[in-house]
């Protein structure tokens, strides 16, 4: 029973780390504020766009993941890694890449324009959803692909030899188990959208709750309003999480020999089309970022290097800490608690931490640890979504066997669970590291000059008219994030089938 006690403590700690700062802001602001008509309108738009963004991401991810799961081709593994990149891009960089493809003078208009097709206008609610799908399709694909790869290949062989319908027998139960969780986590990410919604939304029609929080905090210094809106975000995120996790039922697949799936079914052409379309959608904007950033690499100031080192340190520390917290937290309650972390505005979280820490230490002395803490909170929901199916599967399949062999505690983890979790652990670690690298986050509330992280330096360059150098910094940031992601992700896949 020690395990469940540890799980409960971990869930409480994580929930507390979110609730205490929000409560501190609420307390300092003097209680709950009523929401205005404009706030309600923002809330409606926020929920609406988050729902569609998550739904479209997940629906598109299913055929792409299936195609990737059942086809073997040269460069597949590299493609899977690099297709994950949009998820870890800093927002502003991603917008630049998207506009290079879909913007007024973007690639699509350049190609379609001469053909007489009216100019594509990306700005509007559809632009917001397009950008959110761009960000989150990679995550959805990876989560669902994991589900597919989690079906033991022996099952496919047996089912195929019996002439059974693979989809209803094997794939549908897996999707029923995986898809609601993927939907929930993407829905909650999109609830917090701010810069994407504003820039691509085209104007005040696309106002989100996060913008209302930003305004309340920066211009009105209305802490009670900011905290009240954060509570609304928390409730929304919590409810979405509970519904989705409640829906996510389905049988485990049972144990296999952990071999790579070999499949003979499905249309090669369709699979190739799906993979090709997804790759083009996700990789063209990345290529644009590469092209925009290359000239700027020469203009990078020398201060970029210490900032880079700081960012890498934060990222590595975030990986260690997140994984350490995630393992005991991998329960339904734990995952629900972790969703609180990304549902709440980073601004309110940062302000709350500032209020909590201020009587004890100088906030700017702990800028990096606080950035780290917030990064951990932000990564946990993804990490748990990635790890939980694997951990529960391993427990169900091998837990009793392990116990009957007298394995307990660390030995049970080391010998039985961890080898089985290698793939999701690598993916989770890579994602955490990359997200932490790219996060501007709360450091802007606390920083001292010359102690910034790489994203902060990038924003400073932009603010000083140095757009070219800023794009260079963005490229460096993307390359490092992707490198970190690739290293961990690859590390998780070393034990390939032989």
């Amino acid at each position: 029973m020690a395990r469940s006690a540890l799980s409960i403590i971990a869930a409480l700690v994580v929930a507390g780390a979110v609730i205490v700062p929000v409560a501190a802001v609420l307390w300092r602001g003097g209680g709950v504020a009523a929401l205005s008509a404009a706030d309600w309108a923002a809330l409606r738009f926020t929920v609406w766009q988050a729902f569609w963004s998550a739904a479209i991401s997940v629906v598109l991810a299913v055929p792409v993941a299936r195609a990737l799961a059942r086809r073997a081709f040269v460069g597949r593994s590299a493609l899977i890694s690099i297709m994950g990149a949009p998820f870890i891009l800093p927002v502003i960089v991603a917008i630049l890449g998207l506009l290079a493809v879909f913007g007024g003078n973007g690639l699509v208009n350049l190609i379609l324009g001469p053909l007489g097709v009216p100019r594509l206008d990306i700005y509007g609610a559809h632009g917001v959803i397009l950008a959110h799908v761009f960000f989150n399709l990679p995550l959805a694909v990876r989560l669902i692909l994991q589900g597919w790869l989690g079906i033991p290949s022996e099952r496919f062989q047996v089912a195929a030899s019996l002439g059974a319908r693979l989809f209803w027998l094997l794939e549908w139960p897996m999707l029923k188990r995986i898809v609601p969780g993927a939907f929930a986590v993407i829905f909650v990410i999109c609830l917090g959208s701010f810069a994407v919604a504003l820039t691509l939304g085209g104007g005040p029609r696309a106002t989100t709750v996060e913008l209302a929080i930003y305004q309340a905090f920066k211009f009105d210094f209305d802490l009670s309003k900011a905290a009240s809106l954060a509570v609304v975000q928390m409730v929304l995120g919590g409810v979405a999480g509970l519904i989705a996790l409640g829906l996510a039922r389905g049988d485990m697949m049972g144990a296999g020999l952990d071999r790579v799936v070999q499949r003979w079914d499905g249309s090669r052409l369709f699979d190739a089309l799906w993979i090709g379309a997804a790759a083009a959608f996700l990789l063209l904007p990345l290529a644009a970022i590469l092209v925009a950033g290359l000239p700027g690499l020469l203009d990078l100031p020398s201060s970029i290097w210490p900032a880079t080192v700081r960012s890498v340190c934060v990222a590595l520390a975030a990986v260690v800490l997140t994984i350490a917290i995630a393992l005991p937290l991998a329960t339904k309650a734990g995952e629900a608690a972790s969703l609180l972390g990304i549902s709440v505005s980073g601004l309110v979280l940062g302000t709350g931490l500032f209020l909590v820490l201020q009587p004890i230490v100088r906030p700017s002395d702990v800028a990096l640890p606080v950035t780290l803490l917030v990064n951990v909170l932000m990564s946990l929901p993804f990490v748990l979504r990635i790890l939980r199916p694997g951990i529960e599967g391993a427990r169900a399949d091998f837990g009793r066997l392990g116990q009957s062999l007298g394995l307990r505690g660390w030995a049970l983890w080391r010998i039985v669970y961890l080898p089985r979790l290698r793939r999701p652990l690598g993916f989770a670690a890579g994602l955490t590291g990359a997200l932490a690298m790219g996060d501007l986050g709360v450091i802007t509330l606390f920083s001292r000059p010359g102690e910034g992280t790489l994203p902060l330096v990038m924003y400073q360059l932009m603010g000083a008219y140095q757009m070219e150098a800023a794009y260079g910094a963005a490229l460096l940031l993307v390359a490092l994030s992707l490198g970190l992601f690739w290293l961990f992700d690859k590390g998780g896949r070393v034990h390939a089938d032989v």
Partner: protein, 326 residues
Amino acid sequence: MQKTLLTVAGLFCASVAAAETPVLTVYAPDYFGSEWGPGPSIEEAFEARCDCDLQYQTGDLLPRLLLEGANTEADVAIGFNSDVSKRARDSGLFAPHGLDLSPLTLPLEWNDDTFLPFNYGHTAFIYDNTKLDGFDSFEALLDAPDDVRVVIQDPRSSISGLALVLWVNAVYGDEAEAAWARLAPKIVTVTQGWSESYGLFTDGEADVVLSYTTSPAYHIIAEEDLTKSAAIFEEGHYFMVETAAKLAGTDNGDLADQFLAFILTEDFQTMIPTTNWSFPAALSEDKWPEGFQELPMPETVLFYTEDEAAALREPAIEAWRAALSQ
């Protein structure tokens, strides 16, 4: 372990330094303290004359000061904008500067006894003069064909966006919403802050961007690029001034006074144009760097006092929101 050692070493050094030289803590916005802002050269010049250690703390100036209240470590805060300084003044955290304001060279009279201006600019629409002829009035911009692509900043999240809605209000008054409705079809998008808008403009995603009259100076001086111009409107341009103030609770009163006095000196003022890309607040035009002297200046300057700005902010934003939500 290494990190602990470093921290201990850092704390040790800091305490030794503190014992020897007094520290002046200056809160500033992030762009001000960054290595591309005016902060570093100002720090160097001031330390040369004060025998002290000037330390910046950067971030959101006013929210942070309000969060810290009387416990703040700040001695001086620099980087307030007059459109939102009422909130700062009402907090009671700041003390009068006690300086003679006759050296100021602002285009309008300034006699604030607490908030000391250090630079200014005007909102303006910037365009590429090789692609557009420009606009000589706000009316001309509103009358421009709808395929002219304009980007602006959100008045709810950006100080320049707020200045724009006040500008429209100053020019059009009760007709502001109708004016916004005429501009709306040309507005490609509204961004969170100035950087995002300006990036869209330099990337060619927009033809016209809301920025400052001083923006062309950056391109002229730093890039030798003469293709960016500010459209000067005959109706006038909204004036934006940045100020500094002394904290009432400072325990370094003398140093803080010295720093505020330093702001009005030629040493400080000559650093402003090419680091903060704005007009110095107390420097005659003949001492401005080349590139700044040639900038076209608006004939009429429009400005709301902080009380007026505070009262107008909500209706002006609402006119913008209503027209752009159609």
